[in-house]
Symmetry: C2
Subunit: 514 residues, 2 copies
């Protein structure tokens, strides 16, 4: 058995059975091993940014890592943006990156690159396999690392001779590090803060945004009057009717600061101290008032859900959830696109138990609150801010959840960074409805230019403009084998969306809002 085969067998033994791949020559023995070892589903992406995006979406829904298969150096480079996003979502991921044979590196062949340096810049765990005999154990360690704590990026670099060399040994499954419990003293301190009655904001991230965590947080909030917020972007959140309507920290800096006005205590559950997405001249980096106190209930690697449940009980919160109906009623609105009207329309027609991948950027700014009363769903966002997330992440989520409808809300500018994912959706016949918001402009950058205190002019407007020529998303979709339609009103969207949700398989709706 060669090293590559031992790795495929090791991954399967560690319950990794899905591999998103864009291989090159140095990965050919891994590819060949797929023919020898049944059980690994291999999904091709036609660009590496798609591959890593898929692995992120898969991990968020499957709650376990997928493997990626990437080519040495520049191949890994192309995948970095969505590895970064996955890292910010604490998505577990096992990257298998081929490299030149150890003895070949010294000759500085064209593709020789600092693969290890690139890997270290974006991974929690990196190892270069030394020989065919160690590849199996290295693979098991990579999976262990990826599954430890809240989820990590593990990158295993496989020089070609370690893949083709004989003497491979299948690695035994290793137990990942469990999440640590929160210390009793911390629990008691936070309980005391909550009992104080002083204005308090609890910021929830990670698992605390799944059903159990949200329920416990809501009980705490109901019992104490504390406010709840998610970070600006959520990795995965249980949303819709019957789920606590927790709003997020706004992206726009002034709105974000306003959300924290008067707050005296900030309690973090798997979240970082809320900060501005970017620095803006004359605005603080941290959103909480300077005089407020920040308390860490649970770090990302700790069991924040259990801590919240303990707190709810300790504070004598009612066991049953007391949810009040959100004011914004879902209903189909007519007329031109407008973010709030779209959100109400979308909430009215969202299918039951779907997955929403939201990468709508400016078009999606108003989506959160008006969709509290939509059908129950899981909501995914781009937690890392690297553009090019939506299509790939939706694709991976669909691979992980074949029985659920996936809705991908995608801004046009951002969508262009990874449009190749549409081909993978078509190839795998995934049940994804892609909605592209065609405003034909980098609208977010217009706003950002002003936010940083600069003035738009002809040159900057030219750089933000995507209308000359206008992208035709129907043609782009057709070019990759996907059916589509185009709408330019909310009622048109509602009709097209409902029709698309009734059928199975990938579809694209271009919503022209320019």
């Amino acid at each position: 058995m060669n090293g590559a085969e031992s790795l495929v067998r090791t991954l399967l033994a560690s319950e990794i059975d899905t591999c998103f791949a864009n291989p090159g020559t140095s990965e050919m023995h891994f590819v060949a091993a797929l023919d020898k070892v049944p059980g690994m589903r291999c999904v091709l992406g036609m660009a590496e940014i798609v591959v890593s995006g898929c692995a992120d979406g898969y991990a968020r829904m499957a709650r376990k890592p997928a493997a990626t298969l990437l080519h040495c150096g520049p191949g890994l480079g192309n995948a970095i943006a969505n590895i970064h996003n996955a890292r910010r979502a604490w998505s577990p991921m096992v990257n298998i990156v081929g490299d030149h044979a150890t003895y070949h590196r010294g000759f500085d062949a064209p593709l020789t690159a600092d693969t290890e340096g690139l890997a270290r810049a974006v991974s929690h765990w990196v190892r270069v396999s030394a020989n065919a005999q160690s590849v199996g154990a290295d693979g098991a360690a990579a999976v262990q690392a990826a599954r430890s704590g809240p989820g990590q990026i593990a990158t295993l670099i496989l020089p070609a001779d370690t893949a083709w060399g004989e003497g491979g040994v299948v690695g035994a499954r290793l137990t990942p590090e469990k999440r640590g419990e929160v210390a009793p003293e911390t629990l008691r301190n936070v309980a005391q803060v909550l009992r104080s009655g002083q204005p308090t904001m609890i910021v929830l991230a990670g698992d605390a945004l799944l059903e159990r965590g949200l329920a416990a947080a809501w009980r705490v909030a109901t019992a104490t009057g504390a406010k709840l917020r998610t970070p600006m972007q959520v990795s995965r959140m249980a949303r819709g009717r019957g789920r606590p309507p927790v709003d997020r920290v706004p992206y726009a800096i002034d709105n974000a600061l306003k959300a924290f006005e008067g707050i005296q205590h900030v309690i973090l559950v798997g979240a970082k101290a809320p900060m501005a997405f970017f620095a803006y001249p004359g605005r603080p980096s941290l959103l909480a008032p300077a005089a407020s106190q920040t308390h860490v209930l649970a770090r990302p690697e700790q069991d924040g859900v259990h801590a919240l449940e303990w707190l709810a009980d300790e504070l004598g919160a009612a066991k049953s959830l007391q949810l009040v109906e959100n004011a914004a009623k879902p209903e189909i609105v007519k007329g031109k696109f407008e973010p709030e009207a779209f959100a109400r329309t979308f909430a009215a027609i969202l299918p039951e138990n779907c997955i929403v991948q939201e990468d709508a950027v400016t078009s999606g700014r108003a989506l959160f609150a008006p969709t509290f009363q939509a059908a129950p769903n899981d909501w995914l966002q781009n937690t890392g801010g690297a553009i090019g997330h939506g299509f790939g992440c939706a694709t991976g989520a669909a691979i992980a959840s074949p029985d659920r409808k996936v809705i991908c809300l995608q801004a046009d500018g951002a969508g262009m960074y990874s449009l190749q994912a549409l081909w993978t959706q078509a190839r795998e016949k995934l049940d994804v409805v892609n909605v592209v918001f065609a405003n034909r402009v980098y609208k977010i950058l217009h706003g950002e230019l002003i936010s940083v205190g600069a003035k738009p002019g002809p040159a900057s407007n030219e750089i933000f403009d995507l209308a000359r020529p206008a992208l035709d998303w129907q043609q782009l979709a057709a070019g990759m084998g996907m059916e589509s339609t185009r709408v330019d009103t909310l009622e048109g969207f509602a009709d097209a969306f409902q029709a698309a949700c009734k059928r199975r398989g990938p579809f694209l709706i271009e919503f022209v809002i320019a």
Copy 2:
């Protein structure tokens, strides 16, 4: 004047007047500065791999660097593949990468990443600006570094507060390091080798492949019987009628080894010791026979052209070029695509003084020799092996050479990595004829799988297959505002290509060869 404006003024003072851009928030002050300072042409790419590809193509033709404008961390990550390729072509490039404000980094906002680590992995020169006052001088140093030696990758990281801070000072133009002369002793030693009459191969790269270098090398070869070769891929080569017909080292390992059979001396002019592109089990890494001797006439940072001219004179070579007509006559062949027949057809219809960007991968393997008698042209290839080079490089070459027709020969699989470049071509109305070879398979990987000693099977064939669904390049082109046609015979190609060359502006020909 803020730091960003001082940088734009510095770049202009250093004769950098073209910027390929895909900015984000941290680059907004640079963008705003473009409105204050006239003279910088800013070209938008809808993905960073396009931006860096454009900068590479531009540098090869303009013989000076363009600037790129990239977003922090992941934005730079997305550009790495073509920065790598540019590095392997010794293309000068000045990357301006924004980053979080210095005081904001500690809060670990979503986009916080190891921008400097990524930059170091792919650049010859990296600097992080410390404050607004130093940005101008840093910019001048970056241009100096990029223009030093044979051309380098210089990456300047600009924390947002150094861009928006006041007190910017325009940096004075700095003189790049000149290329060093080859030592007289080296020249004499190589002359002696050439006089020995023993089988000798001269491998030419970089400037030695432009008109002057080739002429001198040809004189040397004619006078001594030495053979000439280029590396497997050339960064830029003067080709066609009237130019010395120097063939390249074949890519396929066994053919490459054969090309060096019996060679006793290898003389390197700006080239590395020829090596296999990848390592293959049972094959050596170095191509020259183990018993042969390798002599470095000129390192890449030395003046190899001058050294060749000295040698030609020293060896008493005739001043006039004695070119023999190559056997393969250009002529339009009829029928289905076949690499050699395509090459002969292409050679017959290539327009005078055009630029050929060849990223045709397997479809282009036979192109080199049969095009020796084509119309004079400059020929560019992917010297780094990172996929996703062609469309972007052709786009940048067209920006640098507005009066020349650019022909981009692009394999379909490789083309999908940077198809967004078609939009930039359409937007800028560039005079590029794109020919996409639609074999609908990662054909090179089929060959590589066998070359590394593995066996194709259902799983591996599935991963290489791009036919399910087939890409429709006409629709993809139309989606980005580009006209196109489809052909499936050589005569059909000849007609379409000649028609496309007669008009101006971007066009795409999908040559279905599946």
